[in-house]
Amino acid sequence: MVNIKINGQSIQVVSGKTILQAAHAHDIEIPTLCYHKDLNPTGNCRMCMVEVEGGKFLQAACVTPVWEGMDIRTHSEKVAKDRKMTLELMLANHPQDCITCDVSGECELQDLAYEYKASAPEWGSKGTRYPVDSDPNPFIRVDMNRCILCRRCISACAEIQVRDVWGVAKRGFDEVIVAGAGTTLLEARCESCGQCVAYCPTGALSNKMNYGMARAHQVKKVTTTCSYCGVGCQFDLLVKNDKIIGVQSNPNAPANGMALCVKGRYGYDYVHHPERLTKPRARRYLLEGKDKNDIRDSIRDTRKSNTELSNIESPWDWVETEWDIALDIVAKKFIEIRNNFGADSLGFLTSAKCTNEENYLMNKLARQVVGTNNIDHCARL
């Protein structure tokens, strides 16, 4: 343990911790941009500079370990002035388009500029250096004009996804973040997981699928569990006007943290696909009270063309109907078949996509209501 002082407050810190960690442990706020708790600190952005008594230079809190007797000021006049100036250097080359920017309201640069009253100086490129929406990736929108070169995308790709797609090209003022050898993301072996988007503090990387669809304060976030594989990632569904407009990492997700895969993060739009079934359907012959065995021939003729509703007036047509009618038909058929052929002539395929509760009920239906153990699901497939 070492004894240090932050803003006059004496605190004890485990040696080896950084100034930032020490400050966070005592609820002392130090602004950061390139720092993220999940990623190895790089010390690039210089927002977290603090004054250390006796030091020639300011120290970057995110990477400087504490030492015995360290006396730190996190918000001295000098520190505040330098932070403001650093922000202005970033804003000089950042577009002044918060008013139309998709991430306005959840942009860390915007928040800090507001806090430090930093506005864009009259000089600089103001975000006119790169093509807007420059990558054809269907999920990730790239606008390097908004990039502040914090490199969190690079770290996220290298350390979270371990795919190493993003990197730095050129140097100095020309420095720019590129994918692979200056190619498109997919050519650079991007898996479209969107981790880079999740960690980007600005609008440089954003989600294409919901671009322009909602501001941060307009969405409701609902934490849920992914419906694809068995890893059980959790994330927040972004909901606006009763529609899913996106998926956002939830840092508290137990199995996955901020990480998601391409399906989990971007494979949600099927939910609102126009082909969704929204009304019960029954074959015309059922509604007309006919016997399936009497219409086998016409089934064979029409089968190929009848995934959709049709009106060719075949007994095998799909007809939309009311719940009561459909459910009664089902119950009647099940009873009839059980009466005729026994309970074991019925089979139940429950679903590995459905919830535990639903699976339990399928099990109860087969066993309690029908009386068969013919229940299975696709675990084997």
Binding site: P138, Q161, S192, C193, S227, C229, G230, G232, C233, L237, P254, A255, A259, C261, V262, K263, Y266, G267, Y270, H273, E275, R276, L277, T278, K279, P280, K292, I299, N306, W323, L327, A331, K332, F334, I335, I337, A343, G347, F348, L349, S351, A352, K353, C354, T355, N356, N359, Y360, L361, N363, K364, L365, R367, Q368, G371, N373, D376, H377, R380, L381
Partner: protein, 557 residues
């Protein structure tokens, strides 16, 4: 999984991935493993005929011939014996039947294992050393191990390996099958299997039958038929039911007359599509509960609109037995209804037509659920391993892995720490058996099947996700460059793949991911689904089809 994903990723000194394309099929777990290798220096041995993406991170990649996992595992264990790397204490204290098992392993000297698997002897030694000398070591597998006629034996042999090395019941060790579907674990846990009630309580056990009969308001004891009205069946069946791979062919035999399919697409996901279609064509009554019209809905008599995960509340259990909340984010679409509601309605209507079967005074006889949480309360009461897993606890932020028998139990991230479920771990002697289908002059190549990163199973969801289709919009068949030269395939051309059962046409992806003589196809796209080609030969115990090995011929179209 015997251990949790986080535990394996954080604690294991070495991983043995066999038959799991982890980075594509369990992508986020795949990234945890990549992180462990790159940032923690964990060793990784991948055994897979294909050069899947995770092999980029492997310390060693073993490319065994398809269907030779047992000689590979036995060969490794032979080397472990030779070098004296086995965990003698663990074997002594925690296991039984060791001698018989060892005798069998001794029939697999490395030279023989090498001959069968095609893996050079020195690589077997290298692999055995990595796996045995880096402890704890975690074995990770998926369908590449189980979808064989020897699937169960493969699994048992991996358990043998882990007992031999004393890696069971240890942080960072264990046997870790990765479950495919989001809630395949839960579907098994909840009794979605023909031989067990929820929590794997056997249907053949009189005690269990009595327990459920009491709870559900049925006659205790074995099933009886009411003489007066034969339609009324009393009690619970003690006969093990049919698996999906038996129910389907059972249609043709007249054994299966009606099916209630909840959110599945057997036409896409079951082996030998042509055969499945033939079965479904003649079924008396098919009820399908789905969110989209599917390949299977072509054969359905009634199609009921269920809802997607975004529209429902409940729980999923992931591959590490972690139970997590699913929360409704949007209203149900159109007139679609919650799946639990639909099932309840059907139950109620059948019961209404069969009075006297159920006694209403039993605690869980009824179907009057107001929400999923009430269903969970019933699960808590009847499913010992879920006894303490309530929506309330999960909503309060608790992180629970089953077994979690009581409300004050913290859950169990690692199984078998003190003893195995049956007491001592039993070594089982496992011998090699060749795959069911062998190549011949007419069908000289081997086909393996599986999924790709951008799609999901039968593709009903992902083919309706615009971006995913932009990235991966049609079925690709992996063809080795050497074979491509022989076939005249250049990566822009389509190939026809034909098995003894069917034929598909798909674009070739010329890549050294597959070894010469092997092709790999997926079953995401109806017009080029690999399951047109696969066969329904099953593992005799688990009734899993041998998807991973089909003899095919490949031709340029």
């Amino acid at each position: 999984m015997s251990n949790s994903m986080d535990d394996v990723a954080q604690q294991a000194k070495a991983f043995f991935i066999i038959g799991s394309n982890t980075t594509e099929q369990h992508p986020v777990f795949g990234t945890l493993l990549r992180r462990a290798v790159i940032f923690r220096g964990a060793k990784l041995v991948v055994a897979d005929p294909r050069k899947i993406d995770i092999t980029d991170f492997a310390t060693l990649h073993l490319r065994q011939r398809p269907g030779t996992d047992i000689p590979l595992i036995n060969g490794l264990m032979h080397i472990i014996f030779e070098k004296g790397w086995e965990d003698k204490t663990f074997i002594e204290e925690r296991t039984e039947n060791f001698a018989e098992f060892k005798t069998t392993v001794m029939n697999y000297p490395p030279e023989k294992a090498s001959e069968i698997t095609g893996i050079p002897v020195e690589k077997l030694y290298e692999a055995a050393e990595i796996l045995a000398t880096n402890s704890p070591m975690a074995v990770i597998w998926a369908m590449g191990i189980t979808q064989h006629i020897v699937g169960v034996r493969n699994v048992i042999d991996l358990a043998n390996l882990q007992m031999l090395l004393g890696n069971m019941g240890k942080p960072g060790g264990g046997v870790n099958p990765l479950r495919g579907q989001n809630n395949v674990q839960g579907a098994c846990d909840m009794g979605g299997l023909p031989n067990v009630f929820p929590a794997y309580q056997p249907v053949t056990s009189p005690d269990v039958i009595e327990k459920f009969a009491k709870a559900w308001g049925l006659d205790p004891g074995p099933q009886t038929v009411d003489d007066k009205t034969s339609s009324i069946v009393h009690g619970l069946s003690s006969k093990v039911g049919m698996t999906v791979t038996e129910m389907m062919p059972g249609i043709l035999e007249g054994k299966t007359r009606a099916l209630y399919i909840l959110g599945e697409d057997p036409v896409m996901s079951d082996p030998d599509t042509k055969h499945i279609r033939k079965c479904l064509e003649v079924i008396d009554f098919l009820l399908l509960q789905e969110i989209f019209p599917s390949e299977t809905s072509v054969y359905a008599d009634v199609l009921l609109p269920g809802v997607s995960f975004a529209e429902k509340t409940g729980t999923f259990t992931n591959t590490e037995r972690r139970v997590q909340m699913v929360r409704q984010a949007i209203p149900t679409q159109g007139d679609a209804r919650n799946d639990w509601w639909i099932t309840s309605q059907i139950a109620k209507r059948i019961l209404a037509g069969t009075p006297n079967r159920v006694q209403n005074e039993a605690p869980y006889s009824g179907w009057e659920y107001r929400n999923a949480s009430e269903v969970m309360s019933e699960i808590n009461a009847l499913t010992p391993s879920y006894g303490g897993i309530t929506h309330a606890r999960l909503e309060a932020g608790e992180r629970l892995h089953w077994p979690c028998p009581t409300l004050d139990h913290p859950g169990t991230p690692i199984l078998h720490t003190k003893q195995f479920t049956r007491g001592k771990g039993k070594f089982m002697p496992i011998d090699h058996a060749p795959p069911a289908e062998k190549p011949d002059d007419d069908y000289p190549m081997l086909l393996s099947t599986g999924r790709v990163l951008y799609h999901w199973h039968g593709g009903q969801m992902t083919r309706r996700a615009k971006g995913l289709m932009q990235v991966y919009g049609e079925a690709l068949v992996e063809v080795n460059p050497d074979d491509a030269v022989k076939l005249g395939v250049n990566g822009k051309t389509h190939v026809r793949i034909t098995s003894r059962r069917g034929s598909i046409k798909a674009q070739a992806w010329v890549t050294d991911r597959v070894p010469p003589g092997m092709v790999y196809a997926n079953f995401h796209f109806p017009d080029a689904s690999a399951n047109e080609l696969t066969h329904a030969t099953l593992d005799p115990v688990a009734k899993i089809p041998e998807y991973k090995i089909t003899a095919v011929k490949v031709e340029l179209v």
